[in-house]
Symmetry: C2
Subunit: 332 residues, 2 copies
């Protein structure tokens, strides 16, 4: 492993993807690329937590239907979300007769899942793995910040947690897009403490992982048609450009952020843009994967970013460490 970067021996293919998003995400600039959208983000449930679980279950069912796969053909689900004890993923997996490993790297969990799945598929023991992450605006706000009922004013650097689920089915046999390599991130903490400014907390981790990836692969940022961080938002995106410049690496117009793509920042009043564990998983599995299939994109580096904050740790005066994992996709 060179600078935390893994090249896979097997070809790790995307078999298919599935996405279901909330109404606001559907109205956003990449809304038409998502498979399905819901009208009511409570989904007829008694709580938003139950709605998030229902959305996660529907997405995995949809992915199985779409690919004509039965649960017994799936060796493993690697899933997570932002709820305490990743309870949405746990209750989701109760519905499926599929082995399960729960992951938590906050909003970087989708990157973590893709890398773990690719490593597993690089052995002879696995042939098909599902990676999925969910998030929900209303569950995240009340868990990490304030109950929506309080009507708190949003601060200028706040982001809007994506409501949705993105799921990827990977195999080591056939597909049109492969994961050729990936870089596993470390926990990076610059001592920031504002739970409403996640972009700044995560940008240092994104820099470290991107630098490690470029060094580990010998590639320059130009190698990729698109470099896409997970959910730094507008301010975090600009910050990462500056942080990379500080290290002598120029990020050009091929660098964007899923949180910027997900919403129309001005028209939709979402602060710095989208965030959440579903931000990178919906934008990748919806928009990016389809652009890779169509050939509009050939090489993409996805860097899901996570802020490792909890309400308890914030109240106890802890800073917010970040983590980011990089996954390289190629059209074959």
């Amino acid at each position: 492993m060179k600078n935390h970067t893994i090249f896979f021996k097997n070809k790790i293919y995307i078999e298919d993807t599935a996405t279901i998003v909330g109404p606001k995400e559907h109205e956003g600039p990449v809304g038409k690329y998502f498979d399905k959208n819901i009208e009511d983000d409570l989904l007829g449930q008694k709580s938003h937590e139950k709605a998030e679980t229902k959305l996660h279950i529907s997405t995995i069912k949809y992915l199985l239907n779409k690919t004509h796969r039965k649960p017994h053909e799936i060796d493993l689900c690697l899933s997570g979300d932002l709820l305490d004890e990743i309870s949405g993923a746990n209750f989701t997996m109760r519905e499926f007769d599929i082995p399960f490993m729960g992951l938590y790297n906050a909003c970087a969990t989708f990157g973590e899942a893709l890398i773990a799945a690719s490593c597993f598929l690089d052995t002879d023991n696995f042939s098909r793995v599902i990676c999925s992450t969910s998030s929900h605006f209303s569950t995240a706000e009340r868990q990490y910040r304030y109950p929506l009922e309080l009507g708190n004013q949003r601060t200028p650097l706040a982001q809007w947690t994506a409501t949705g689920v993105g799921a990827t089915m990977l195999n080591n046999v056939s597909g049109k897009v492969i994961i050729d390599c990936a870089t596993i991130g470390r926990v990076v903490d610059y001592g920031l403490t504002d739970a409403n400014d996640m972009g700044a907390a995560m940008a240092p981790a994104a820099r470290e992982t991107l630098l490690a990836h470029l060094e580990g692969t010998g590639r320059s940022p130009d190698y990729y048609d698109l470099i896409l961080t997970g959910d730094l938002g507008e301010a975090g995106h600009r910050l990462l450009i500056l942080l990379m410049e500080e290290k002598g690496v120029k990020l050009g117009s091929n660098y964007c952020d899923c949180g910027i793509l997900l919403f129309n920042r001005m028209a939709q009043d979402v602060g710095q843009g989208g965030s959440g564990a579903a931000c990178s998983s919906t934008v990748f599995n919806g928009y990016v994967y389809k652009k890779l299939l169509s050939g509009e994109l050939n090489k993409v580096l996805l860097i899901p970013t996570g802020a490792l904050v909890s309400k308890t740790s914030s109240l106890q005066g802890e800073s917010i460490p970040g983590i980011a994992h990089a996954v390289s996709f190629k059209r074959v």
Copy 2:
């Protein structure tokens, strides 16, 4: 993968282990097998959460010192705990220049970590991985049940969350104990709702994983010198024996539970015994590993068990699903 069971192509060795436990664990029947113990479970910190993190950091540092390894020699840490957003593991990994993936399968996380690490080490990309889990009586009580300050009476089926950390360093080169195969669990829910009776919530998952393991390997329970569930406690242990009998499999005197081994149930007033993410990781890395090294044990099946409960899901009337993963160790 036969019935969720993986046989590893490479030999996955234990390079070494480290354990640090609290005062009560040190006084228990296997207390002398732990590497270190602390006198004060607050460790001079301002909160038990910070104390748990400090304990986790100390254990990984101790493991690195013991093995004379530098952080750059470790390809990955797979760690978790029971805190919301696994914040103890996150803050622990902030201290180390090592790639990190956070895991959450409740008290089955140690099993999940060992299996994921073994799969990673079964590829050419990894040569040395640390698996670690922590738990702390005082953080778990207030997060999952009631703040200790309330002085709530404990119910008869309650267990006592272990205070401690267990860490295992695995490699694919040399050692005296190997992981030869493992079985990944599914989420199993029998509809139980008592957050003070975790043994009953987890026993069905333990049965399912054990049955899958026996079928996937063609082994009988007698094959192992010791079968050890993670933290079913006394009542859960008896329940698993009955549940297995129902399926025609008799568990004999070679079946025990880490939660039973960790404490002297009567003398230490711990209800049904120990529990927590550190229950299986301390008992395995302390007691069991040393018995494997000395040759008193040759073949051990460890089945860490997890109750996928969160305070929010309990308050919303959800039942408590369980999960269990089985890991087979052999002396070489």
